[in-house]
Subunit: 335 residues, 2 copies
């Protein structure tokens, strides 16, 4: 039986709640904490109830919660600016951390987190970020196909994230708490670029704008990041909050990967994967991925090699933060 505590309820905490609710024999939720000021913890309480989980004890101070409850796993989902500090605090106590992305909103925080993790990892403590889209059947299916070599050697990757803006919580309205659109939204597409290619970034440039952001403070509404990667692989991701409210889905996630033997394309809003290789254009049958939180815990239990590693969580965050630095400063950032 694994004891789980939740810190915050700003992002994808639901990806843990649903798995916990389906496996009462495996998990217990012992306590929750808002973690950051102004976090509406009632969203988490409602999700727990909906998934048949009794609302547990609530702590004002997450540190006190971790000290007293001594959980096996902390689900970190506070203000985006607090992810690193919360994660580091838990990791240092030997608690496994399932953390909302990005894992940090500054390079300084990221370095501290990596150092703490390195020590904890030597004691078998696990860490992964909630890069939920890797577990979407379309991305998962495309990844498996690329691993099998259907497009040969990857030469270019083109990613897209497009969201409806709506009216966002105050958290999103300032860089200090939000962290920025490239790390918050773009990280999915940047993760796909890194995950599919397995390549390191050599240089990044980026552009962004907060215009037309639906009155959401300084939140960037558009951004493009461009990458020079190892072995002359090139990549870009375009990100926006301009998807109309009338669109059939909230998001329009895409990746297109061109290789030496074919081109594969994921169109998330259609839930489709298209491959053009030696047999011409075909739609791939979707595989059934594991559930992200279950995969994380199965990794702790040594049952599987999870899809997401701690190192990937750190590196994708680093790439996002350097891309944002490139956009903020108008400079080329060399890795």
């Amino acid at each position: 039986m694994k004891k789980v505590c939740f810190i915050g309820a700003c992002g994808h905490f639901g990806s843990a709640v649903s798995v916990i609710g389906s496996h009462p024999e495996r998990f217990t939720v012992s306590a929750i904490s808002a973690g950051s000021e102004q976090v509406d913890i009632s969203r988490l309480e409602a999700a727990l109830v909906q998934n048949g989980i009794a609302v547990p004890k609530r702590y004002d101070d997450y540190r006190q919660m971790l000290t007293e409850e001594k959980p096996d796993i902390a689900v970190v989902d506070g203000y985006f600016c607090d992810h690193a500090e919360m994660s580091a605090y838990a990791l240092a106590m030997g608690i496994h951390v399932y953390c909302e992305k990005p894992v940090a909103t500054t390079l300084e925080d990221l370095e501290i987190l990596k150092t703490v993790y390195a020590k904890a990892a030597r004691k078998g403590v696990h860490f992964a970020y909630m890069l939920t889209t890797r577990y979407d059947p379309w991305f998962y299916t495309a990844y498996q196909a690329v691993q099998q070599g259907v497009i040969g050697e990857i030469r270019m990757l083109n990613g897209q994230k497009s969201y409806k803006a709506g009216t966002r919580a105050p958290l999103f309205h300032q860089r200090k708490t939000y962290g920025g659109t490239i790390p918050w939204v773009g990280i999915h597409a940047i993760d796909w670029v890194l995950w599919f290619s397995g390549k390191k970034v050599e240089r990044v440039t980026a552009v962004q704008s907060s215009q037309a952001n639906g009155g959401n403070g300084t939140m960037e509404a558009t951004a493009i990041c461009m990458f020079q990667m190892e072995d002359e692989v090139v990549a870009h991701v375009n990100i926006d909050y301009l998807r109309p409210q009338s669109a059939p889905t909230h998001g329009d996630d895409r990746i297109r990967i061109a290789g030496t033997k074919g081109v594969i394309e994921v169109r998330g809003s259609e839930g489709k994967v298209y491959l053009i290789a030696d047999k011409g254009l075909q739609e791939l049958e979707l595989l059934t991925p594991p559930k992200i939180f279950e995969d994380f815990v199965d990794g702790i239990d040594g049952k599987v090699q999870p899809l997401i590693t701690a190192e990937q969580s750190f590196y994708a965050t680093e790439v996002c933060l350097k891309a944002q630095l490139a956009a903020d400063t108008g400079r080329i950032i060399v890795f």
Copy 2:
């Protein structure tokens, strides 16, 4: 009756031949010249015959041809590195020029051409480049819709050109004659970015690679260009020669434009235009565009305001060459 001479047969000369063949009352082809060394002029002769046009006199020297024939219009389609010189030579003689894109392969040549054109324009001489895709029903339809304001104010543009590489003529194998993949292929997508937005570029960065180019010399197989434009509009284009031979069409041309009121998307390989605006996702009914060469000549005759202007032809070429400079040098090029 307009007298036309052809110089070279390397690119889209066919866009003039088909119109001329359909209008024998309006055009006569008086002579042709290979223009550049190693140009296979038999392709042009075959196209003329196929379109019911008698094979005309052939000159070794295009300058002599222009001097002796004194045509109304020169179709310039020599080696890409020779476009500017050929065009300038004709323009200086008061001959209208319909020129393959890019109109120059160096910024120096472009400046000379612009200077010659400026003088010729004062005498009513016309110039336009063969940006054939503007006249594809899907791009034309999307352009008209955007002009009508269906997506509001443009905030981001994402363009794509993808071609089958095949085995290319020696012209393509070295930068000196070919000019590069960004100016040759990318210019279409860069033109759409400029044409749809009507914005000027402030800064460009770009990446490219000649790896996996199918044995075509130094021809770049992949490239991405990223633009910071006026009013914080952002844009990118991705370009590749990695489209598999088995693909249903030669090219996979796309543009996606996100605005304050909607998103419009052209998928050229499907011949479709998709709009998401206040009515949700819809496919636009295709309009019937004019024919590019006919539009050019109608512009000379004062019948229409053609879709392509000389200034746009020069500017898109300049943007391509500066994007390529950015890729070649790894620098940010400021306009």
